[in-house]
């Protein structure tokens, strides 16, 4: 007689959150991981750099236009003899903060407008999309310059000015996703289950619409940093707060004598925005289920 072993119950596949798959997908993308590492370094430098380095970025510490490396000043001094490295470290804080705050603001406005337009359709959508188009066709730089010159060049005003001109992309993406998802049966099923519009929008549709919005938000931090740099370069910034764009702008007249005073903070902007873009692209691939199947 053959001895039949008791059948082993098949092992249940452990619940794998979609998040785990996304993380794995992201880690396979080397460029994105490199971007993430650079970004983390920049953020760490912004948080701890100024106190570790310990040089006041507003203090005149040595003769103006000391080239990098000489007299113990790693990146040299600017036209007022201020330490450039200290300036870049302190500027990182301002640039990153403005970038993130403006991105959060534009995501908030964009999601609200896009979700309401895409979910309710009809005349609500018509009105909201015409408003969105109005903001889209405004010359963004001019519009934010107007806001800054009207309300004064302080960091909150600059953040609001950047946020106000950059939410339209988020609104359009959110609306498109909502229009697609609201037709799916699980939304109808949730309605049949007694979910109200508020719950349908925020608990059912929005979580499923988030991936492309997250990507857009990540990329928006980069554009907001560039935008802030642009405004600062034009002098539309708080002259008492050092930021990357402000360093470039204030040293601009001396670009021929001491090009490093402009190049180095420019390089900081370039590296940071590039890192953010790489992370954003990596997120895009990792969050896109159609690419995941490959």
């Amino acid at each position: 007689m053959t001895d039949f072993a008791t059948p082993v119950p098949p092992e249940i596949e452990q619940p794998r959150a979609p998040l785990a798959e996304t993380t794995e997908m992201f880690l396979h993308n080397h460029a994105a991981v490199a971007g993430l590492i650079v970004l983390v370094l920049v953020v760490l430098a912004a948080i701890f750099g100024p106190s570790l380095y310990g040089v006041d970025p507003y203090e005149m510490v040595w003769a103006p236009f000391t080239p990098p490396g000489s007299e113990g000043y790693l990146l040299g001094t600017d036209y007022l003899g201020r330490d450039l490295l200290a300036g870049i470290l302190a500027g990182a804080r301002v640039s990153l903060t403005i970038g993130m705050a403006a991105a959060i603001m534009s995501v908030f406005i964009g999601i609200t407008i896009g979700a309401v337009a895409g979910f309710f359709r009809g005349w609500v959508e018509e009105v909201l999309m015409r408003v969105t188009e109005f903001f889209q066709v405004l010359p963004t730089l001019l519009f934010s310059m107007v806001i800054v010159s009207l309300f004064g060049a302080s960091l909150p005003v600059i953040t609001v000015a950047i946020g106000l001109v950059s939410w339209t992309a988020v609104a359009r993406i959110t609306r498109a996703e909502f229009m697609r998802i609201r037709e799916l049966e699980y939304v109808m099923a949730a309605r049949a289950s007694g979910a109200g519009n508020f719950k349908l929008i925020f608990r059912v549709v929005l979580p499923n619409a988030l991936p492309p919005i997250i990507v857009q938000a990540a990329l928006m931090v980069g554009t907001a940093i560039l935008f802030e740099a642009g405004l600062s370069f034009l002098g539309l910034t708080d002259p008492n707060v050092v930021s990357w764009g402000q360093i470039i702008g204030s040293n601009r007249p001396y670009i021929l004598d001491a090009n490093y005073t402009v190049t180095l903070p420019g390089l900081a902007i370039f590296v940071t925005v590039l890192a953010i873009s790489l992370v954003g692209d990596g997120l895009n691939d990792a969050l896109n289920p159609r690419l995941r199947a490959r």
Binding site: Y186, A190, S193
Partner: protein
């Protein structure tokens, strides 16, 4: 006679046709045109018809998932079409819906247990602490293992997903369950399992089904009475035996003759009736009988005069000029 659980009267649903030229009168497509029927407590009523006949639209309108144009739908005496906002959401516990596509009808970001308790959470019926036990019971009732409660929808097969959809519909303990093509997305072996599950649940819980399907075999297996729809109207309405044994409307006869059979006697008995041509445009339906253009026995008056739905035999109603009081099929 006890009052019916669900009573639908003159239900009409129409859609605005998009893409019409500006400054022209908007065109409407009447998908459901004055449909009237009753469903008794504990029975299964089937609605069959081809694609575009308005059977799913009828189901969605009764469930208040799309906007109706006119009519009356009473569930247990309560006029569903008059309910709004919070009243409608609270009333939803009495009628639940099982969807056709087991893939798109489950939220991919929720775990199975969360999906099943969604009606309870939305209507606020059962306090959070007591839901655990209820989910256990529902999972057992639909034949899922308790350890599958924390899985995501993509980790289930089609049949299992449909079981989750059924458990979700049963969660608020509804009186009426509307099954919109509940098995047509599944393969045949799984279809049989799900149909038997639905029948067992009906017995155990005293459910009433409104069963929408294009599959006559499924309807024959599931339903006590059957309505046949063509282009938004009910053309024939009868109990299962009369409909399958002595269909009266030419359209029903044609449908039944198209059902393949393995029984050689039955094959020999039934003569195939072929319908030619296309259904008329749904935006401008013909004035008379809507089947007249394809009907093999149509007379001139069929093209001008719409036939009323009238009772020709006890419980057997048909909308055809050619069916006389002797209740004999014209074909």
């Amino acid at each position: 006679m006890t009052p019916p659980l669900l009573s639908v009267k003159d239900l009409t649903v129409r859609f605005k046709v998009r893409g019409a030229a500006p400054f022209r009168e908007a065109a409407y497509l009447t998908a459901v045109d004055g449909v009237t029927f009753d469903v008794a407590r504990g029975e299964s009523l089937g609605i069959v018809g081809e694609s575009g006949s308005g059977k799913s639209t009828t189901a969605l309108a009764i469930a208040r998932l799309i906007t109706h144009h006119s009519g009356e739908v009473r569930l247990d005496g309560e006029d569903l079409l008059a309910l709004k906002g919070g009243d409608l959401r609270r009333a939803r516990r009495k009628f639940q819906f099982i969807f056709q596509d087991p893939y798109s009808s489950l939220n991919p970001r929720r775990r199975a247990a969360e999906i099943v308790t969604e009606p309870l959470a939305s209507i606020g019926l059962v306090p959070k602490g007591d839901r655990r036990k209820l989910v256990d019971d529902l999972f057992e009732a639909v034949g899922l293992r308790p350890e599958q409660q924390n899985l995501f929808p993509h980790q289930f097969s089609g049949g299992q997903r449909q079981r989750i959809g059924i458990a979700r519909a049963l969660a608020p303990n509804p009186a009426l369950v509307i099954c919109d093509e509940a098995v047509s997305a599944l393969d045949v072996a799984v279809q049989a399992q799900i149909l038997n599950l639905l029948r067992r649940l009906q017995r155990e819980r005293g459910l009433t089904y409104l069963f929408i399907s294009h599959d006559l075999g499924v309807v024959q297996h599931m339903c006590d009475r059957i309505a046949v729809m063509y282009m938004g109207k009910i053309v024939e309405f009868a109990d299962r035996l009369s409909l399958f044994n002595s269909p009266l409307h030419p359209y029903t006869c044609a449908l039944l003759s198209a059902v393949p059979s393995v029984d050689p006697d039955r094959r020999a008995r039934t003569k195939r009736i072929l319908i030619t041509g296309e259904p008329p445009s749904p935006t401008s339906p013909p004035p008379g009988c809507r089947f007249a253009s394809r009907c093999p026995v149509a007379e001139p008056r069929c093209k001008t005069e719409p036939p009323p739905l009238r009772e020709v035999r006890e419980g057997h109603r048909v909308a055809c000029h050619l069916v006389g009081d002797d209740a004999r099929a014209p074909v």
